[in-house]
Symmetry: C2
Subunit: 301 residues, 2 copies
């Protein structure tokens, strides 16, 4: 499977870094929210419900810290070549949202336009969707608050939600989430315990770390995209993104710290042709997001 | 005990409704955030970190839905009589933040200025701090999303946080939370399971309820105040309030719904004379808030 809830997803995987691109169908509405202290994002101002633009043509998740935001350039050009984007007299302007994480790969080694394009092409080609240390999750780790590096990576989850409409036809809608987990905190399981124990971790580089103290130059981030194939307004997508952050709270501890660039985008593709029950979607979203985070890195994987 | 982390707290308890007043010491800095869909608040615009005012003289939690915001009037007058507030040429203007919840007591039956004053006087008199169905928690319930009313109420929790400063003196600071739990969702325990089972609930009034559907006229809300006796900036208090909302996520499901007026205020009294470690405080806050929520209503209480 390379589609989640009608969104095509593809990875480019490099040496200690990577890119993951999500290509939703035409007509997708999106919004988002940042709750971490150290975000690296592109087009997030536009995701504010008060702004006019409500379409999203692509979401680019990348390593390489803020350098990795360049990966969106390659996706912009690819989409422009395909005629996708917000129509203007001068041609389409694709709305490409970017979110990057710190995996220690900087400057010329960070993912750029070519790597972003490669991930977008992979999404279009329909390669099977892998999880773990792939795409933007390649260099991702967790548990840095404890002075160790525990596994991180790319994960996803999905379920179907009843809409409560006619019983004579299929009125369920899809709710999915992808997560790139590079958290400052621990990944915690459904009963609140850390997923990894000391034996799973490797010590942080010697420049120092400690509880509540940022190791110099080491930052963190968990990036999430919530997806439904129902129709939602941009404002409802914003509320869905808020519930997405509640999923981070369920699966990470500590969460939303100063050192995390925690950010969530929510997309409603509308491909199911059904208006979404925002409340039912929001109630399920923290569970789906937590599942996606936990699926990014599993013990003995 | 009537003090938590140097903040005096008092209840007025009426028939199916009530008021709880928090009176922090002079010099307290505060901020706050709303994450629920149906808030009833007073002075929240002022809590935005971008606004000039950073002091908080009182926080008033009340039943009576938006009518209950009148309870703050009585606290305003009491504080004015005592000379407390932001100094102006015309005399002090107390900064009194209000948050109310829907307990079904409306109009002339809702708490007003006299009830607010009574709760403030109780705080000053140092009456022992009770939890459960007292003060603003008197008419509070939980679990309404399931079509039943489960217990709710007023709860609190506290712990001490190491600052990492000199080992030769007491450098721990207090972190506390109070919660009035009137949630749309269930209260969930540390391992994620609902605290109450069907046998603990009573059916909602006949006008109807169901998963994801608001019973007509029945709303919900969880109100939290996070308190530390450390010194923090207003901006850091805002971040502490954000972490307070993460505590709601740990102890309530679903949380932050359209029908909840979920709101958190964070106060830093500075009485400990120590600058707070914002990151350590924020990491502990979800746990303290979750404990306060769970302490508001316990099985077979």
């Amino acid at each position: 499977m390379s589609q989640l809830a009608t969104v095509h997803i593809g990875h480019w995987t490099g040496a200690g870094t990577g890119v993951t691109v999500l290509l939703p169908p035409e007509g997708t509405v999106g919004s988002g929210e940042v709750r971490g202290g150290a975000p690296a994002t592109r087009e997030f101002a536009l995701l504010d419900p008060a702004r006019m633009m409500d379409r999203v043509d692509a979401v680019v998740l990348s390593g390489g810290s803020a350098f990795g935001l360049a990966a969106a350039d390659g996706v912009m050009r690819l989409l422009h070549e395909r005629g996708s984007g917000f129509a203007t007299p001068a041609g389409p302007v694709p709305i490409v949202v970017g979110m990057s994480l710190f995996d220690g790969v900087l400057g010329p080694h960070a993912p750029g336009p070519a790597e972003g394009r490669a991930a977008a092409v992979a999404a279009l080609l329909g390669e099977p969707l892998r999880s773990g240390k792939v795409g933007a999750g390649t260099g991702a780790t967790s548990g840095k608050h404890s002075g160790k590096l525990f596994p991180g990576g790319f994960g996803w989850a999905q379920r179907r939600i009843a809409t409560g409409a006619s019983p004579t036809q299929d009125t369920t809608i899809a709710l999915a989430a992808v997560a790139v987990v590079n958290a400052w905190g621990d990944i915690i399981g459904p009963t609140g315990s850390p997923t990894f124990s000391d034996a799973d971790g490797v010590p942080l580089p010697a420049r120092g770390a400690g509880q509540g103290v940022a190791p110099q130059g080491l930052q963190a981030t968990t990036l999430v995209v919530v997806i439904t194939d129902a129709r939602l307004s941009k404002l409802d997508c914003h509320l869905l993104a808020q519930s997405g952050h509640d999923g981070l709270v369920r699966a990470l501890d500590p969460v939303h710290t100063r050192f995390d660039g925690d950010a969530v985008v929510a997309l409603a593709t509308g491909a199911a042709g059904i208006a979404g029950d925002t409340d039912a979607l929001r109630a399920a979203t923290p569970h789906v997001v937590a599942d996606a985070i936990r699926g990014a890195a599993t013990p003995a994987a």
